[in-house]
Symmetry: C2
Subunit: 342 residues, 2 copies
DNA sequence: CTGTTAGCGCCTTCAT
DNA sequence: ATGAAGGCGCTAACAG
């Protein structure tokens, strides 16, 4: 593994000259540069970024900590991050926290040790500890997808509350009066916001929410399956389900099918987050979609801004994208015998 | 940002002692350790992995270079890699080559500069250049998913040829005599192998393959869409399609729907790679599936082995997983008026 | 059990 | 236009 000194010796120059060639900095005569470049080629020299970073205090590396790259929403988001990062000359380290605050903090610690220049974080829980840890080391961080109340930090997310409101409103307009919300765990801001939007829509229609109209479970197919089973077994069975994410929607669908309930004839089902077009054979679900790629891109841009303007303590930004509701078959037509509202 | 010296001073010891505490190496008295640990806590010291790696020549980082994390096959594979890597104390840097050999080599160069300890590589093309580059720096690499002829290297992949043979055989047994293969680009080993298996099955049934029964295109939904359109417009329209991957399958489905062809009644459609259960509402496609997670895990294990046994030049391994054929609706029932083969 | 010395490979500072 | 010295934060190799 040749070093800068080997190259210098080989070219008959000082090592700093080689450094200047690599970095295109300072003054160099054409001949010297040519000689050095040839030496580099001959030895197959590759600069050691580690040593460079040790000196310069910059690694040109960003960290993306999210909950589960297996979910296409996050996959798409990750592509947005990677494309923006790599265009700006940064590489990306990514880690899956699996919705565990402990894994998250373990990873963040490792990444801090690796001296990453900045963090993109999808927090597992609406807690400030991880962010405080990062702040304490003066490393910039942009939170994606989920709000974290009680701390000043850049956030890029979607208006989950409004999206849930819209979806619920849609169901209400179709005549549904008894709706269950299959929600993610408490403490996950998107889940909580979606529950809130759901409740606001009910109240806006003058409907008193039942005590068990909000079910809590994992943001997974399994979670959706279990919650839907529970909903379908309720004494006063709901005529519509609102699922808090794509996997929950699929799980709920499975549960409905198993229970012999047709969607949407017997029960309507709407959800959050679409699957990418490339993965869907029969577009079926009515959903509120979030611009995942765009969110990743925007968050990375903000982070890169912070990196550029180093200490210049600008105000923290909160970018909130709107969700978009796509009506398809799973929400069904008007429910007969009920009066649509407004 | 406190350094090891600050901690040493604070604790009244030499810096090497602090190093020993951090790394749990060498002998230490209980009191010294306690004192150092307290100093670490008080100063909020975090070791600098960069400096450590510069000395130790190990970064505890692996690189995963694949073509497109957006494809659930690779997403699942990536989880297999990450889980295995993180269990062994390694972190992961991943990059998308987008099937471009140039992007691939750019990334590999950056990753070499970053001194990653090893590579997991899904080569964009069946060329040896990238692997030779990595080898030339004496860094271990395990190739995943695709064969690279002409170079001695560890490979973990699936038996694409056999999988395509099986799928084609299935179609033949259902009575299809005129089948088109919607294949990926030339030079991608999985695509080529699948074409080969397809042809072998035709020949084994005594069928002379038509001259345009193999179409080439991108491994994407768009590619599948275009190839299927082409196939459906052929003078002697095929009665069945074999798609080389999951996205091509979906694209072909779209094209069939648009052309008013019902699957499987008017045309059968089978493919490679399933979508994860969590993403599929109506399991429909007959497919040959590859154990993506397992492939990622296995490849990482081999890489970690190499890392452990450092110079011990063992024989290179080639692990070939079997594919598994799952018969669902898209392959249809027997075609009437044709004689199924043995 | 603990400390000293001497770099790892690179680049900033200052000199020539 | 080029080079010499010194140090980033850490740890191997030796002392003691």
């Amino acid at each position: 593994m040749p070093t800068i000194h080997d190259v210098a010796k080989h070219a008959g120059v000082g090592s700093i000259t080689v450094s200047r060639v690599i970095n295109n900095s300072g003054y160099l005569s054409k001949e010297t540069r040519a000689r050095v470049e040839q030496a580099i080629a001959e030895l197959g020299y590759v600069p050691n970024t580690l040593a460079r970073s040790l000196r310069s205090k910059r690694t040109n590396t960003l960290a993306l900590v999210l909950t589960d790259i297996t979910n296409p929403f996050f996959t798409t988001l990750a592509r947005g991050v990677e494309d923006a990062a790599s265009k700006a000359g940064y590489t990306l380290i990514f880690c899956n926290s699996d919705e565990s605050a402990m894994k998250e903090s373990t990873y963040v610690n490792i990444l801090l040790q690796k001296q990453v220049d900045g963090f993109l974080l999808v927090p597992a829980q609406s807690k400030t500890t991880t962010i405080e840890l990062i702040h304490s080391r003066a490393v910039p961080v942009v939170v994606i997808d989920r709000a974290v109340p009680g701390i000043a930090v850049d956030v890029v997310r979607c208006d989950s509350e409004e999206g849930a409101f819209g979806l619920t409103r849609l169901l209400l307009e179709l005549g549904h009066r008894h709706i269950a919300c299959l929600c993610g765990p408490k403490g996950v801001s998107t889940a909580d916001d979606r529950a809130a939007g759901f409740l606001r829509a009910l109240r806006s229609a003058g409907i008193a929410p039942g005590r068990d109209c909000i079910l809590r479970g994992e943001l997974s197919q399994e979670g959706g399956y279990l919650m839907a089973q529970q909903a379908l077994r309720m004494a006063h069975k709901p005529s519509a389900l609102l699922a808090a994410n794509n996997f929950i929607t699929i799980g709920a669908m499975k549960a409905a099918q198993e229970a012999g309930e047709r969607v949407p004839e017997d029960i309507a089902l709407v959800g959050f987050d679409d699957l990418p077009a490339a993965m869907v054979t029969f577009p079926f679900f009515t959903v509120a979609i979030q611009p995942a790629y765009e969110m990743g891109r925007k968050a990375t841009e903000i982070l890169l801004q912070r990196l550029k303007s180093h200490g210049a303590e600008r105000q923290h930004e909160e970018v909130i994208f709107p969700t978009q509701i796509i009506v398809r078959r799973s929400s069904g037509d008007s429910v007969m015998g009920l009066h649509p509202i407004g």
